[in-house]
């Protein structure tokens, strides 16, 4: 349980916007509440009202757990722009720290789906020649995403290496 292996670099992690937490909470609730309601209704008609209440309680517990996980998850996402490379960390249960040298970047994507836009977040993803490189930073404000994209593109140009 030592935090050492995923310790932040000098300067610490830049954390992502809390709006990502809001967006993910919204998604969890939007799935969990109708699903619980449907199952509870079915239980009320097919079994008894006791069963329905049990289902609702179970649903509430599941939602609570999901909300705690969502909260921890978005808080676990971080990145750090170092002189030569970009670090991205994420995950609570499955943790990952990826380092991408700027010279290895092939291109940078900025993505924002309808829900992301509603909550005012965007994600930046780096691509290298390796398909295994898994460096995406969700939950950036649009301004930060644009800034990061331009900075990464410029740094990629400056450090460009072959393969």
């Amino acid at each position: 349980m030592t935090p050492d292996a995923f310790a932040p670099p000098q300067g610490g992690w830049t954390r992502v916007s809390s709006r990502l937490g809001a967006a993910r909470r919204f998604v969890s609730l939007a799935i969990a509440i109708p699903a619980t309601a449907a199952v509870a209704l079915a239980a009320a008609f097919l079994a008894s009202s006791v069963a329905a209440i049990a289902v609702v309680l179970l649903g509430a517990v599941a939602v609570a757990v999901a909300l705690v996980l969502v909260e921890r998850q978005w808080r676990a996402i971080g990145y750090a722009e170092r002189a030569e490379d970009l670090l991205v960390v994420r995950g609570v249960v499955f943790r990952q720290l990826v380092v991408v040298p700027y010279g290895r970047m092939q291109f940078v994507d900025v993505k924002a789906g309808p829900l992301d836009r509603r909550f005012g977040v965007a994600s930046v993803q780096l691509h290298t020649a390796s398909a295994a490189t898994d460096a995406s930073i969700p939950g950036l404000t649009p301004e930060e995403a644009a800034r990061l994209r331009d900075r990464l593109a410029a740094l990629g140009e400056a450090h460009a290496a072959g393969l």
């Binding site: 030592t2 050492d4 310790a7 010279g103 020649a129 290496a161 072959g162």
Partner: protein
């Protein structure tokens, strides 16, 4: 062959070869319809002729629209009838050149030239078909330009093929043995044995022949494909890089310039270990998309060889390092709680015995594998930890290279050591990149 301003064309028979399958299908259909009434036969025949005419004219138009030329350090390839495409391939980024001769093209003395350039999907350029001498001379020109020997084509005659030394060949007998002792073959034998037992028990021999026949046919084709592709594999070293020739019916001559091999994996399947046989596979950017063969490059460098020969080939692929001298440290004992079977074999290390810095990882309990990646070729480094690993204080470090058979990952290390290894790989890869061969490997003063 040479047109105005240095534009060149493909061989004029190309359209026929490109559409031969369609032509054969149509002819077969026409012949099959002969049994029908006279009228039906005429209709079928007329249709067949129409299809043949359309296919051939399309092929001819496509051929007319296709041309290529060398422009400075780039290859320009134009194609397309309605939708024109002009592709400029920077030869400094050339990863490999293959000359492929499918059976029919081979009978006509033609060959297909494939250029692999690292990039997204379909970043390769294919010249199908050229006459065999033309394919060889274009390849040599491309390699000379890519290497930086010359900056422009001008009127300089095409360079001669660089001299080569053969490093390894695969004897037919060994290849046959390796296919017989491969995993799929063992499955076949097991299934056939099961069928025999079942047939004897039930007293119905027809069952045996039915099952055995279909199993043999299914797996037989797969084994035949591998055999056909790997037949007579010869690995040679030259100034242009690594040359690999292989193939029985369809032959393939691959050239991988120096510094283009992103990683090497040595596999020792369980049965092969009894005979000290190894298989050597490489990752080359651009070859990865169709894994293990097909139309893209073949990643099996040496399908089977004795350990000594295999190591000799790797010494040519990674000339600046003695990878087998790199010290690897085993994973801690508690890793067996996470990976009970292979924990005892897990090991990883970084070293530069001989000059070039590489990372070596070992894994596999029954069949062994070792992955070697030169640090100069590393794309990104990942530190990973799952819940079980976390409870045990373990973590894994994955080294990412371009898509291919190589997967260098130091599994289940002590988490502090893993972070140290991760940081070390990041720092040393940076230094290795700075010291690596330039893209144009023979460029003077580079």
């Amino acid at each position: 062959m040479t047109l105005d301003e240095g534009w060149r064309r493909l061989h004029p028979i190309s359209p026929v070869i490109n559409s031969w399958q369609a032509l054969v299908a149509v002819l077969a259909l026409a012949v099959q319809q002969q049994g029908l009434g006279n009228n039906a036969f005429k209709v079928a025949g007329g249709l067949a002729v129409a299809v043949v005419v359309v296919t051939i004219s399309y092929g001819v138009l496509a051929w007319r629209a296709t041309r290529f030329r060398l422009l400075g350090p780039d290859l320009v390839l134009e194609s397309g009838i309605l939708f024109k495409r002009s592709r400029r391939v920077p030869l400094a980024r050339l990863q490999a050149v293959d000359i492929v001769r499918p059976l029919l093209a081979r009978a006509l003395g033609l060959a297909e030239l494939k250029l692999e350039v690292a990039g997204g999907r379909s970043s390769d350029a294919t010249l199908a078909y050229l006459s065999e001498p033309a394919a060889a001379s274009v390849r040599n020109e491309l390699l000379a330009l890519a290497a930086g020997l010359r900056d422009d084509v001008a009127d300089v005659p095409a360079p001669d093929e660089a001299e080569e030394t053969v490093v390894a060949t695969t004897p037919v007998g060994l290849l046959v043995l390796s296919t017989l002792l491969s995993g799929p073959m063992l499955v076949v034998l097991a299934l056939i044995a099961a069928a025999a037992v079942f047939a004897i028990a039930s007293g119905e021999p027809a069952v045996f022949f039915g099952i055995a026949g279909s199993v043999l046919f299914g797996v037989g084709t797969q084994i035949w494909n591998v055999f056909n592709e790997d037949f007579g594999t010869t690995v040679a070293a030259s100034a242009d890089g690594l040359r690999v020739r292989r193939g029985l019916l369809e032959t393939r001559a691959q050239t991988v310039p120096p510094g283009r091999v992103q990683g090497v994996v040595i596999r020792e399947p369980a049965i092969w270990r009894l005979f000290s046989w190894v298989r050597v596979e490489v990752t080359v950017a651009g070859y990865g998309r169709s894994f293990g063969g097909g139309s893209s490059g073949v990643t099996r460098l040496l399908p089977i060889a004795s350990r000594a020969v295999g190591y000799g080939v790797i010494a040519r692929v990674l000339p600046a390092v003695d990878w087998s001298a790199v010290e690897v440290a085993p994973a801690p004992r508690r890793a067996r709680w996470r990976a009970p079977i292979e924990a005892g074999r897990l090991a990883a290390g970084v070293g530069d015995e001989g000059g070039e810095r590489v990372v070596v990882t070992r894994r596999g309990r029954f069949g062994h594998r070792s992955d070697i990646v030169p640090l100069a070729r590393v794309q990104s480094v990942r530190l990973r930890q799952g819940p079980v690993q976390r409870a045990l204080g373990l973590a894994s470090v994955a080294v990412d290279v371009s898509p291919g058979p190589v997967r260098a990952v130091a599994l289940h290390r002590d988490e502090k050591e893993a972070r140290a290894l991760h940081d070390r790989l990041v720092t040393e890869a940076r230094a290795a990149r700075a010291a690596a061969l330039p893209d144009r490997w023979l460029l003077p003063g580079a």
